[in-house]
């Protein structure tokens, strides 16, 4: 479970987030929605301990990454918005690196890597270096790196960006499967169709604050609209409300 309470962060004169709170439960997909610059990436980075909040608290299964970084990160898989792949390593080596740092070794490491390659349909490119790979192939490699150790919590920063419809479908099925296995999945996305189909809960961030939380149906009901897209637009300009 991932929890954020009263998160605030400024970069110089820019207030990235001023009051963000959310709870992402186990066996559920929680989506962080908001416009560009609304504070989604800042929130996700704060949870992973990459930035220090000015106020508020973030925990992963009750562990604050600021206080016990290693223990918190052992519970987490993180998919960054810019992948950050190493162009001179192969896909398999990326997975091996992540699995090894998370404590896997020997046959269990080999099995985990092979399982991830199969799961993400990476077999044809597993032993290719990532330099020159397509956007979709890079996304799958970065995703594999985030899940190879079967974390209890998974953070995905816009995972469907750049994927073709086949890869989007594969990702959708994967996330549903991981949810079925009890994972806590927190992701940010802009694609409303994906959000509506996948999300068990939505947290809408607007102007650096939590504008609304609830299921997609709750969010639509709260905004009085028939589509999620209309609801998001309406609520992004309205004062904070809680649909749950």
């Amino acid at each position: 479970m991932i929890e954020v309470r009263g998160l605030a962060k400024t970069y110089g004169a820019v207030q990235a987030v001023s009051d963000v709170s959310l709870t992402a439960g186990n066996a559920a997909i929680t989506t962080l929605l908001g416009g560009n610059g609304s504070g989604k990436t800042t929130t996700l980075r704060a949870i992973a301990g990459l930035i220090r909040p000015d106020a508020g608290a973030t925990t992963i299964d009750g562990v604050d990454a600021r206080h016990d970084r290693i223990r918190a990160l052992k519970r987490l898989g993180f998919f960054a918005d810019r992948f950050g792949l190493y162009p001179r390593l192969t896909v398999r080596e990326h997975l091996e690196l992540s699995a090894a740092v998370h404590g896997l070794a020997g046959p269990s490491l080999a099995n985990a890597v092979q399982h991830t390659i199969t799961l993400l349909d990476l077999g044809s490119i597993a032993d290719r270096r990532t330099a020159g790979m397509s956007q979709g192939q890079q996304v799958k490699c970065a995703l594999g790196r985030a899940i190879v150790h079967r974390p209890a919590n998974l953070i995905l920063d816009e995972p469907t960006r750049g994927l073709d419809i086949f890869a989007v479908r594969l990702l959708r099925d994967l996330l549903k499967r991981l949810r079925g296995e009890g994972l806590c999945i927190l992701m940010s996305s802009h694609i409303m169709a994906e959000v509506a189909e996948l999300s068990d809960a939505i947290t809408l961030i607007a102007h650096g604050r939590t504008a609304a939380t609830g299921t997609p149906a709750d969010i639509c009901a709260l905004a009085g609209t028939s589509t999620l897209e209309d609801a998001i637009v309406a609520l992004s300009t309205a004062p904070q409300r809680n649909a749950a």
């Binding site: 290693i70 993180f78 190493y86 740092v101």
Partner: protein, 373 residues
């Protein structure tokens, strides 16, 4: 230790697969010794050249027979294609006869024939001395009366001044190896990785920042030491083929010397690679990091040239300055510096390395590191 080993493996694979970076690193080890060898060979050839110059008369020059005979008696002969010519005024013989000073101009392209021109000037001055002595004798004066002091220069150095500077330049070149060999690797592992957004995923792995920094440092250090050894070994190997002994330089040029000289560079290499990493992590882009690292690499060049031009002054226990003097022990058989000096220099280098690595770890905690370049 486990996370360090994993990070080291990742950095190692990444570094050795970047062939262009490695090639540029070891180009220093190959190209530099060749340049030094060329300098030594040319200097030795010039030093060995004792042949008398050839000369011709310039157009419209007078041609006094006694002067020609005096030069010929020294083996200095005329040649139509000589690079230098003598311009002698028409009044030459009258001036000599009247006991006046006769001017002779040696005309030459000094870039091409400086040594020949100097030899000719010396020969003419010697002939002038002879004429002066004759004049003094005619006037009833002993030649010694016009030479109250006869100063003589006696060289006690086993090595000539030029050879000494060449050896100094060679040592400086060897000391510069850690600064240049691993520059690209250190900057790529830090500023390059930041630019490629590769630090963020590493920082979201359950790995102490210390492991990550030490792994990056270990790779750059290993490549730095390997590059320094390659530079020293190749230099000594190539110098063996040069006529350096003709310059009066006795150098130890075996593998043992290369190993000892490399070992003497270990603390300095640690400091240099750590500073280059810090430069990389505090830079926003690879290019920016490379620019600052290049400026940093001029430190030993400036200090070294200062020491080279400034002469001796003893062994100073400061990094770079210490190595410049201390390297003369294994290479030239100079006295070894005392242990205290070595301990101070090594301690200072390792302290600098520690501070630089500390700043790297500090930098990894800085969220600005993850900001857009």
């Amino acid at each position: 230790m486990r996370t360090f080993t994993i990070a080291f493996w990742k950095e190692w694979v990444t570094a050795i697969r970047e062939r262009r970076e490695l090639a540029s690193a070891f180009a220093y080890a190959l190209a530099g010794p060749l340049l030094i060898a060329l300098l030594i060979t040319n200097t030795a050839r010039e030093a060995a050249d004792t042949s008398p110059p050839t000369w011709r008369f310039c157009e419209s020059s007078a041609a006094p027979a006694p002067l020609v005979a005096a030069l010929e008696s020294k083996g200095i002969l005329q040649a139509a294609d000589a690079e230098l010519c003598l311009d002698i005024p028409a009044t030459y013989e009258a001036d000599i006869a009247a006991g006046r000073t006769a001017g002779i101009v040696i005309v030459a392209d000094l870039n091409a024939a400086e040594k020949q021109a100097r030899k000719m000037k010396a020969a003419l001055e010697a002939y002038g001395d002879t004429l002066r002595n004759e004049r003094l004798a005619v006037a009833g004066l002993a030649p010694e009366a016009a030479t109250p002091i006869a100063a003589e220069l006696r060289n006690t150095s086993p090595v000539g001044v030029l050879a000494n500077r060449l050896v100094g330049a060679l040592i400086l070149f060897l000391i510069c190896a850690p600064f240049f060999v691993c520059q690209s690797t250190a900057i790529d592992a830090t500023a390059g990785e930041r630019e490629r957004r590769g630090l963020e995923p590493m920082l979201t792995l359950p790995m102490p920042r210390l492991s990550l920094i030490l792994a990056k440092f270990a790779i750059t250090f290993v490549i730095g030491i390997a590059g320094a050894f390659a530079t020293i070994a190749i230099s000594l190997l190539i110098i063996r083929k040069t006529p350096i002994a003709d310059l009066g330089v006795v150098m130890s040029l075996d593998v043992k010397t290369a190993l000892i000289a490399t070992a003497m560079l270990i603390p300095l290499t640690a400091a240099v690679e750590a500073i280059q990493m810090a430069i990389g992590l505090w830079s926003r882009t690879f290019k920016e990091g490379q620019t600052y690292a290049l400026l940093f690499a001029f430190t030993p060049v400036a200090l070294g040239f200062g020491a080279l031009m400034g002469g001796g002054g003893g062994v100073k226990p400061w990094p770079v300055m210490f190595e410049i003097e201390a390297m003369k022990a294994p290479l030239l058989g100079a006295p070894w510096p005392d242990v205290t000096g070595f301990a101070i220099a090594a301690g200072l280098s390792l302290a600098i390395a520690g501070l630089a690595l500390g700043s790297c770890i500090w930098r990894l905690r800085d969220e600005k590191l993850l900001a857009e370049s």
